[in-house]
């Protein structure tokens, strides 16, 4: 036993020495003028599953040589809630990194605590980047109490989703694309009962969806259901229309929408797993032909790696993008859209330590031609080649290409430089021929078509005040209980719900929202 103890002791001591490395000393003051400035950057990885940026990435050397910056990268967790917890915990210990990606809600909290720096003066130091990325909407996103506290880079392109319907199923049953809510219901019913895939089994549904993680803040039950909500004019959480400004839930049409959706559930024309699905389950389900109508994102639908499984299972299958159908009052909308941004904030510590110049330099370089291509696609000849139009493509570079497993790790920072420019879209969404059915598909064409439909303009919804957690729970719990039938959906119960909602704090939230809308000209 003595031997065991000695071994344990040795292991313990050696582990604490050996594993005590790996720490970043936080340099608080930029040292002598020719020593590089250390910048800690916490970034949101583009594709977290692919793995972090390798330690021998060429970018490190280039940044050190050209900008005199020693860049230290940390990848944030892939889950939004985990990101928020990690950043807020670091904030609570006053241990925030120099530059980090953050959601607007957390940013608001950090501003209140005085942990992030006012960056109004930084924009002048990066004119090129500001011109490319920071337009008026971006500035609104990062402005709190009249000052900018972060840099809001463009996120996913707006209006990139659409209402898709199985064309082959429509043709088989001799139906037309629905244009009204009644027709939509009829088509859903037909898809459920008339075996549109012809396999003799009663295993298909009309509509499929899932409840997203942030569904309540966008408008419960979430953007998968916006086309249906849009038919009643209640898509989105807030109504920015001057006549009905406020939460959409107060509109009488919202009740009609609930009745309609409940009817879909009761008659079984919607995939009953919609309440339990998470994003990946939903996507797997349409690839297996479970339902015939859905709202999906352009690349999630049409990109080669995503469409391929569906194509293999159903070579005869095809989807068509349809216009939103009209509700009883003639409203129609694919959904409520807002501009999407990713905010990068600077900690007060870094600002006080004088790292502001270095940070501005770094960001400006990222948006330069060199930085744009390096962060976005990698090294030319190694990770990408340019085709005849100058668009970066994978060519035959295999794994090292920016679409391959190794290439993806060196482009994890692309979120910091992409701005949905034409080069990017052409590169991300090339035209290709499907493997099994030989169709020509292009996520770019799909995107343009989706963007051309009718949408409700909800720009600015991302900056609206959020509710207290209890109010939020009451809102989503009550709506969910109506839909599952736990509470009967009657006018009387609905009125009770609204009254109780106001009591819990819903009215306060609504008033705050309307006031904010007026102040910021969102109506």
């Amino acid at each position: 036993m003595k031997k065991l103890l000695t071994i344990l002791c040795l292991v313990l001591i050696s582990t604490s020495f050996v594993f005590a490395q790996g720490g970043n000393e936080k340099t608080t003051v930029a040292q002598k003028s020719n020593e590089p400035v250390t910048i800690d950057l916490w970034y949101g990885a583009a594709v977290t599953e692919a793995g972090p940026v390798p330690s021998d990435w060429v970018g490190y050397q280039i940044i050190k040589d050209k900008l005199n910056i020693d860049l230290k990268l940390t990848a944030l967790p892939s889950n939004d809630a985990d990101q928020d917890v990690k950043i807020q915990a670091a904030g609570a210990a006053n241990n925030l990194p120099d530059l980090f990606m953050v959601s607007r809600k957390v940013l608001t909290n950090l501003v209140k605590q005085g942990l992030v720096a006012n960056v109004d003066s930084y924009y002048a130091q990066m004119p090129n980047r500001t011109a490319i990325q920071y337009d008026a909407d971006s500035m609104k996103q990062s402005t709190i109490n009249g000052h900018s506290y972060g840099f809001a880079s463009p996120g996913s392109i707006a209006k990139n989703e659409g209402l898709l319907i199985r064309k082959d199923w429509l043709d088989k049953l001799g139906l037309a694309v629905p244009t009204t809510a009644d027709e939509f219901f009829a088509v859903c019913k037909a898809f459920t009962t008339q075996d549109p895939d012809g396999n003799g089994k009663n295993d298909t549904y009309g509509f499929g969806g899932y409840v997203e993680v942030d569904a309540t803040l966008r408008g419960y039950p979430g953007s998968r259901f916006f086309p249906i909500m849009g038919a009643f004019g209640v898509d989105g959480l807030w109504s920015f229309d001057s006549a009905t400004a406020g939460l959409n839930i107060y509109k009488p049409e919202f009740y009609d929408f609930m009745v309609y959706l409940k009817k879909m559930c009761d008659e079984g024309v919607i995939d009953p797993n919609w309440l339990s699905y998470k994003k990946d389950d939903f996507r797997a389900a349409w690839k297996q032909g479970k339902f015939g109508i859905m709202k999906e994102q352009n690349a999630a639908f049409a990109a080669s790696s995503n469409y391929a499984p569906f194509d293999k299972n159903f070579p005869e299958g095809s989807w068509v993008i349809c216009d939103p159908f009209k509700g009883p009052n003639g409203d129609a909308s694919i959904g409520a859209f807002d501009m999407n941004f990713r905010i990068y904030a600077v900690s007060t510590t870094a600002d006080k330590a004088g790292k502001g110049d270095a940070i501005a330099r770094l960001l400006e370089w990222m948006s330069s031609e060199e930085g744009y291509f390096l962060l976005g696609w990698g090294v030319e000849g190694v990770n990408f080649v340019k085709d005849t139009n100058g668009i970066p493509v994978a060519g035959d570079l295999g794994d090292k290409a920016f679409t391959g497993s190794i290439g993806q790790t060196v482009t994890q920072l692309r979120n910091m430089v992409f701005y949905n420019g034409d080069t990017e879209l052409a590169s991300r969404y090339p035209t290709y021929i499907t493997a099994t059915s030989g169709k020509e598909m292009s996520a770019l064409k799909v995107l343009r078509e989706m963007q051309s439909k009718t949408w409700t303009n909800n720009v600015g919804a991302g900056t609206m005040p959020t509710a207290n957690a209890d109010v939020k729970r009451f809102y989503e719990q009550s709506l969910a209980e109506f839909l599952t039938g736990k509470t009967a959906l009657t006018q009387a119960n609905w009125a009770k719900f609204i009254t109780e909602f106001n009591n819990v704090g819903g009215k306060t939230w609504n008033d705050q929202g309307v006031a904010y809308m007026k102040e910021n000209n969102l109506i």
Partner: protein, 313 residues
């Protein structure tokens, strides 16, 4: 008077003698005790933020006091009583279902007469413990989803109507309790098996001599032998009765079952952690601690009255 002093002196000198006699024990204790002070009691000192309005820039010591405001926020929450009710329902439910099952499993493994069956079950039983709740959600979905879950396929085959277990407020608590039992049964049994392995051979010899059958053997030898471990486990679990399994509920719940699924920890996660209300989060932690401590002390007193050697203190 002098006698009293003498007696007192004797007592304190006896105490001192005991301390000196045990000086090598205190030496052994030094390092773990220091660890405790650093890693457990400094955070408790930091937990004073429960009574403060926490400002990160000012730190723990300089943030302003606000007394019981954080506690009031918690207690006056619209959902306070449902949270408490759900938390206790799950904690007690798990004690009632999981604990007996793992004890029965450990005895069954101990008494099983077929080594092949025993080894298979022993190896398989603790495998579910390693499945995180993220993957458990997938398993439960495959089993219980209304559209194509295996259980619902069976129900439909017999002509019944499929049940959405994960969205049904009546079914959800059972899903939580049984999935937890399924996952932890084998793992919790390990400690009981270790206890069973330590039973003195002579006890069983005596039992055979007296002609005891299997049931009597369980009643008079096996169960009493592991009783101290059972009592200890029970006492410890009572102390954390207000922790009802955050990871499980967090992965499994959804708005339609909030009324029966939301527990204290998930509420604190949304209201405290995600909102930068760390004083509130810490206050709830202290609240749970006070109740847990009270429960431990009460049940410990009961236990020490009933039998020596099983109490925590």
């Amino acid at each position: 008077m002098k006698e009293n002093l003498a007696i007192q002196n004797n007592k304190s000198s006896r105490l001192w003698k005991e301390i000196v006699r045990h000086k090598s024990v205190y030496l052994l204790l030094a390092i773990p005790f220091t660890y405790y002070i650093i890693f457990k009691y400094i955070p408790i000192w930091n937990a004073q933020i429960a009574f403060k309005e926490y400002w990160a820039v000012q730190g723990v010591n300089k943030s302003p006091w606000i007394g019981l405001t954080n506690f009031k926020t918690f207690i006056s929450s619209y959902y306070f009583w449902p949270l408490i009710r759900n938390t206790i329902m799950y904690s007690v439910g798990k004690l009632i279902i999981s604990l007996p099952l793992s004890i029965i499993l450990s005895i069954a493994i101990y008494e099983c007469t077929r080594p092949g069956l025993r080894k298979t079950v022993q190896t398989l039983a603790y495998l579910p413990h390693f499945l995180s709740w993220v993957i458990m959600y997938g398993i439960l979905l495959a089993l219980l989803s209304p559209g194509d879950g295996i259980v619902n396929d069976v129900i439909k085959y017999f002509g019944g109507k499929p049940i959405d277990f994960l969205s049904n407020t009546k079914a959800f608590p059972w899903v939580v309790l049984f999935s937890d039992a399924w996952k932890e049964m084998g793992w919790s049994a390990i400690i009981f098996i270790a206890a069973l392995m330590g039973i003195d051979v002579s006890l069983f010899e005596a039992a055979t001599v007296e002609g005891a059958n299997s049931w009597q053997r369980i009643k008079y030898i096996t169960l009493p032998a592991i009783r101290p471990v059972i009592v200890t486990v029970l006492l410890l679990k009572l102390g954390t009765i207000l922790n009802a399994g955050f990871n499980q509920i967090f992965m499994l719940y959804s708005p339609q079952v909030y009324s029966v699924a939301d527990i204290i920890d998930t509420w604190v996660y949304r209201q405290g952690l995600l909102e930068f209300e760390f004083g509130l989060a810490t206050a709830v932690g202290l609240f749970k601690g006070v109740i847990g401590m009270a429960l431990i002390m009460i049940s410990n007193k009961l236990v020490s009255k009933m039998s020596e050697g099983s109490s925590l203190f």
